[in-house]
Symmetry: C3
Subunit: 643 residues, 3 copies
């Protein structure tokens, strides 16, 4: 794995640059990411270009032995461009313009901006596409950050109408699919359709879901245009984009398919406060981040990159953008590095080389302080580099035993019609992922169209639509299948399936969801053999041959099983979920053990990793080759299986 | 009492209709409500009508022996109408348009929409007004739902100016009535008056109050226009409207006076989470609804219909529109039915016949599931129908011993100048109603202009304006009178009365409110003989002949009494309110007993009803003719007094 | 000290006026404030004036021996003026107009309104400027109330661009100062700069800070224009403005420098709920207000008036504008009066003479009730007047031993880039002030440019910029200096100082802030010798000669000391802050004692004051000349030191 750093020469006196790249190399870094916010420096006036400074920066890096990942600067169009083409601005769900003065101030549906983005991309690609230092391109920066996937601009409305026409063919089909005789919502033609916002009460859920699907498609369109240009002008280089954490507003698998490598920006502490965790967990993991959040995303983006993935931004210290910004525990920066290694990352770079004295991110730590002295992360980066050198070539990450289906469309479906205010498909998927990891299982997060061959356990926490392909792959797989409530609860057009849910599973297990209820916080339903159901409960009718493994105290069936297929009819607590999953995993022939809340393990070829996110040291039965025994808080231990 | 169901043939294949009406009749249903959202199906293009499908549906119902309650479809103007006349849209308090895409997207002040509503009403009335199946008309649907009474459109502003001119005559009178020399708010003419929103800080409270009164008058105007058409074209049919629960944005008594029958939409569980109840009560009554919320509204709408009232939408299972949507307890659907019987409802119909697979209400239960199999409510509906048949003709509901004054204008007055953020006149009225019901008393909720003859106890929880008529009726009544704080606290023009509050009561009890304080949550003032005051406390000066029945520990008088008149100077806890009310009721010669939180009783002629909302069974000293002994949770028992 | 009252003759029948002024005089009042909201009565139509009523009111007051403080009515331009010049309205941060219908509906950047304000001011000054009764002028009313300092009108945007051009000279300097190469935010000219609102995510913090500085300058401009007119036309009269509590949106020192006297509007109970206090403190001081909030503001406005200050509005009973409005404890109105005496106020007047029956403030108590009978405050006002007469001439308030720097620019700096969501420089300053007062210390709140000579202890709770002048005055002072975290954390251009914080203090104490973290609520870091750090913690590197007086349990230094200089690196709890401050005060030679939470003491020449804000009586070792022993809850005791 190559280590690197995000470098912003345009923000510093050129006198510093030479020492910057020399010190990077000395620290063991092998590449820089550069350029992704520099449009106003590259093209300070429309059509007037200043490439020299960037040429010199790239050449300096190259001379120091550093590779370059070059970013297209389209996330921050300059003020002159916005003033010349104000129609490129997005509008919020409230219809208000989202103006210049921060970043991501463009609408994905704007053809005008798409042309501008292609123009600057082509110019950059022409200039640096064949530079020997340049090994990769990053398109734009963090698509969708700050809630920028959805826009209600005129361009977006027009695009949506075209998208609907493509999808439904004629308006009668749209009226039928959405059931628009309800509340006299029928349209006479696609031009009558508006954005599903600003209505008197809830707009139509299928309208909202399709708007999200359309918006996601516009992100794909925008990215594809840059990829096409870069492929042509910069042959042999990887094309990447930096995805984010806890973010589901577009279909990352679809964008990932356009790329060579999926990368993401990992801020374990920054994300902790935003994640679906209890207050106790947020306090417990204040300085390490949650034990599974990072691994979930590593695995997810490994899927998005079809095996190839990087961490392109890694947290080096306190960030600036969370509500509160604690410092990492001593060791945590190194721990996060090894976690990426264990999951098979090809590269990892820290954000950023040096803390800036001004601007929105002035309080964001870097590898260097604003006074250019090494910051707290420096020795941990050095230790990681040394450890990697000591380990030598790393084995490849193989397929895990467990596949967990995560589906963006299901996230949007639940958002479109939650039925219970706190229903959250991402949170549920993460809770299932945690349950599996706590049992010592390695998990591949996979898309719903994934090849399931080779998995021994397939988890479907919230797979709202189970289409024929998935149903066939589940049936063909020899794996144990564990599905949660809402599985198969809608058709692709967002109708309740004619034979009731779980549509697509009924060939595996003869059950039918007769009634659904959601439950407010504070209400829990006791389960006969321990545990509780909260939030969601379904009344299920089971056919012959279906065993009821577990029931509520009120008599309703909770855990239904038939052959390899298992269905949970309610939202179960973590302990019960773990017990169910352990039984199903055992049926799949997998060895499990309860690692407790703090310790996690991974394997990479013959390497074994233990990560200690907890407040107390952990004893090992072995002397690790990296790390110490016992493993301290925020510590890592690595050994070889055959050692 | 006749049972029925809300039926939406336009949403289903016509092939289902015949079996639908046959199964309705077999279940014991006697009528359908139909048509109230079907404008786009009736007039798919402007001026092009498709009546045939509706003709066939009505005829089918008729042939099956079902009566029809026909709805005018004005709650959902089609998209073509909105596009042709965008000025019909309402604007929110923030001035933003409230667009198409859900329902109720019209402004009550729009003359353009009023004409369109009259046009479609006249056409429907002409076609179905004399159809033998049609027994009643419902105007529009749920006036005001989704906060649609108040609009700030240009039409609303113009209408308000006219309304002010009518009310005050000249602008000097307006300036004087509102006291507009305060903060230089004086107007030179009515055209200078704007909507009382979007001001820098709080707008003038009388301005807001009059805006609400005006907005209420616009609802009256809109309804009256439909009523006039329907009366002329459909002689002999009842004209009704379906009111809502926990909704006070217009004067329902005034609209009710235009109707033959008041109906309402009763969702005991849907309303529970929105009601002014403690978390503990919301958990306790999760699956039954609150023991008094439904009865309060039954009684209120009985007043609105001057004795004639229906439940036109009754909850059959989980709904879709609350934050969380639990399923009813087994028995609750039947219990709710008997509760309407006990309160003298003429009809009750469930919403809806069959759960829809799509749309905003796809997750709303019906009597049938989306796969057309009977849903959980089915057997309870059948049981209710059978019970009603067994009971035979029902006695009439007579006048209760207790009148509780509930006044929409007082609700708005408190909202216009709450003085304590959580002051809520509806919540207070409901708490007083609960206190009386818990004592075993039957209560008539009545308007402030009600004839009080025959009542033995009159409750005024929050009667802000006590006008001469009410003062005289209180004086003429022989009833005990118990008034709460804020009674008589304002004149009709929203001034503090010259002789201080309680204006209009001082002839009965010589007291004067010298000072008012509101208290934040968490503060409670101890009362000498037990209980506490929270939220609100007045310093009262009492004349000779006024007894202070109860004092705060700080010495201030709390319960003042003189002859038949009682005044409470603070917001007392439920226990203390019950003790005060019990004493006053005893003075009125009424027998009371504490039924506890869960059990409620009602009487209908010689029939006696006991409803058990609690989690434990209740023993009866008698064998009921409907229900069992003991009465299980969510159970009902009915017997005859002389049995 | 002279007592007075705010009088609104325009709101009452003229028949009441003569008795009003006679009763004022009889109560011991010596002046009235008048006229500040009367524009619509003075100029009911554009250019048509009605002065007679005001002439008569002023003459009546004069004849009764009452002085007059005359207000300019510019806080409430009449409707005709707004309609004629709608461009005078402000716009909110959301861009929406803030309309007529309450007060303060003007934009400080509007030249049109500035001219109108000058016009009416000149007319009033011409008419009353030399009236013998008129002793002072109040400009406008409560600048900034209801969040009216910041506007985003076109006038504001244009003004901001000019202000930027003045401040930075050319746009390259602006780009450099703000570091706008970050995120391609560079401007090509000042006309490209917009308001820092409505951006996709956080706008640039220096942009927001400068916008606040500009907005503050517009308040100064507006006030200066009136002052200039009044000085010329009304020689020898004091010019004052009434500032508010808990309000920091403009630089009050700068406006104060234009005035002769700073006055403020003191509502101890109204402010309590809005203040940065715990729920327990809000309950404990429900009826007295917080023990230090009032004193903090007295001291602050004493600084704003360079020693001369008044309370121009004093709370007489429940107000109307807080979320909840409790009544004062018996004695509290008198206590608040003595507190102003002890802090050296020249005048104090109550708001208002008589409670109004209508309008936004109808529920606000006065000295008289709406029925013109004395309200609850009346006897306490009489007692205060009698006490003052008994005391005779009052000594002057001398300089305190302790200076606490409070800096508006620092408040805005923290708001512009809080880094932890709940960081609040005013709350921190008030907590430090409380800690000092609880030790029995008298405190002068002072601006950062204050002369520090004579102080023995200088406190810098949150002084974000420590400029050269302040650094030199701190160095030249012989005082002990105690600085909190964030001190010297930014340059004036809002950059992290090149040598890291605490910039400007490093000559006194050789430390360097290497890293900053903020901590969410619920997280506390244990301190070795007791106490905790919450909210904020810095990693500090200390040079030789710096002692670490206290450390966190995790080893990090918390309290650094070198010579007279002390630095706290974290947000410490109240107890620990008190212990640190006691040690530093002792080093300064000051005698301290822990007065507990409820009791406060002040000195005024030889007079000694004890205020009891608590629920229990306090024993004195002396018999007071005002008050009793023991001192009851909400009681005051006054004695002479040499008595």
């Amino acid at each position: 794995m190559k280590l690197g750093v995000c470098w912003y020469p345009e923000q510093w006196p050129e006198a510093l640059w030479a020492s910057d790249v020399a010190r990077m190399a000395a620290l063991g870094l092998r590449f820089v990411r550069i350029g992704e916010f520099a449009w106003s420096r590259i093209e300070p006036e429309p059509g007037q270009f200043e490439w020299d400074w960037l040429d010199r920066a790239v050449d300096l890096a190259h001379a120091a032995g550093l590779q370059v990942v070059m970013g297209t600067p389209t996330a921050t169009p300059p003020k002159w461009l916005v003033d010349a083409h104000p129609e490129i601005l997005a509008r919020g769900r409230d219809g208000q313009l989202r103006g210049f003065g921060s970043r991501r101030h463009y609408c994905f549906s704007s053809d005008v901006y798409l042309e501008q983005a292609k123009r600057i991309t082509a110019l950059m690609a022409a200039r640096y596409g064949r530079h020997p230092a340049v090994v990769a391109w990053q398109t734009d920066n963090e698509y969708g950050c700050h809630d920028t996937v959805v826009s209600t601009s005129d361009a977006a409305k027009a695009g949506f109408r075209r998208w609907l026409a493509d999808r439904y063919g004629d308006v009668a089909a749209l009226n039928a699919a959405w059931g628009l005789s309800f509340w006299s919502q029928e349209y006479r033609n696609f031009d009558e359709v508006d954005a599903p916002f600003g209505t008197v009460t809830e707009s139509h859920p299928a309208h909202r879901l399709d708007w999200q699907r359309y918006s996601s498609a516009m992100v794909e369109r925008f990215n594809a245009a840059q990829v096409e240009i870069l492929r042509a002008a910069s042959p042999g280089r990887d094309i990447v984009h930096n995805f984010m954490g806890l973010f589901t507003e577009f279909d990352h698998y679809a964008v990932g398919r356009q790329l060579d490598v999926a990368t993401w920006d990992s801020y374990p502490i920054g994300f902790l406060g935003q994640g679906p965790f209890t207050s106790a967990d947020k306090a417990r993991y204040l300085r390490t981040g949650h034990p599974d959040l990072t691994a979930f995303h590593h695995s997810l983006y490994r899927a998005c990159g079809r095996g190839r993935w990087w961490v392109i931004e890694q947290q080096p210290g306190p960030v600036n953008w969370a509500a509160w910004n604690p410092a990492p525990a001593k060791g945590a920066v190194e721990l996060w590095g090894w976690e990426a290694v264990a999951q098979g990352a090809e590269r990892m770079s820290w954000f950023r080389w040096r803390q800036a004295p001004t601007g929105q991110e002035a309080m964001h730590a870097g590898l260097n302080r604003p006074d250019n002295q090494p910051a707290a992360a420096w020795p941990e980066v050095a230790a990681l580099a040394a450890g990697l050198a000591a380990l030598g070539p790393l084995p490849a990450r193989g397929q895990a035993d467990v596949a967990l289906l995560f589906d963006y469309d299901s996230v949007w479906a639940v958002q479109s019609q939650p039925q219970g205010r706190d229903q959250d498909a991402l949170a549920t998927a993460m809770a299932w992922h945690t349950a599996a990891r706590r049992l010592g299982l390695s998990v591949d997060v996979v898309p719903p169209d994934a090849d399931l061959a080779g998995y021994r356990l397939v988890l479907l926490p919230v797979q709202v639509v189970v289409d024929d392909g998935l149903a066939q792959r589940l049936a063909a797989s020899g794996a144990q299948v564990l599905a949660g409530p809402r599985t198969g609860s809608k058709t692709r057009d967002f109708a309740i399936p004619p034979a009731l849910p779980p549509d697509g599973l009924q060939a595996l297990i003869d059950i039918r969801v007769a009634r659904v209820e959601s439950l407010p916080p504070g209400i829990s339903l006791a389960v006969g053999n321990g545990g509780v159901v909260t939030g969601w409960m379904e009344d299920v009718e089971a056919g012959e041959g279906v065993a009821v493994q577990s029931r509520l105290d009120d008599g309703r069936g909770l855990w239904f099983a038939a052959g390899r297929a298992h269905y949970l009819a309610g939202g179960v607590d973590a302990g019960l979920l773990g017990r169910v999953m352990a039984e199903v995993a055992a049926a799949a022939g997998l060895a499990v053990q309860d690692l407790g809340p703090d310790v996690r393990v991974e394997r990479l070829g013959d390497l074994r990793f233990l990560f200690n996110y907890g407040p107390t040291a952990v004893d090992l039965p072995i002397l690790p080759i990296i790390g110490s025994n016992p493993v301290p808080p925020a510590g890592v231990a690595i050994w070889r299986e055959d050692a």
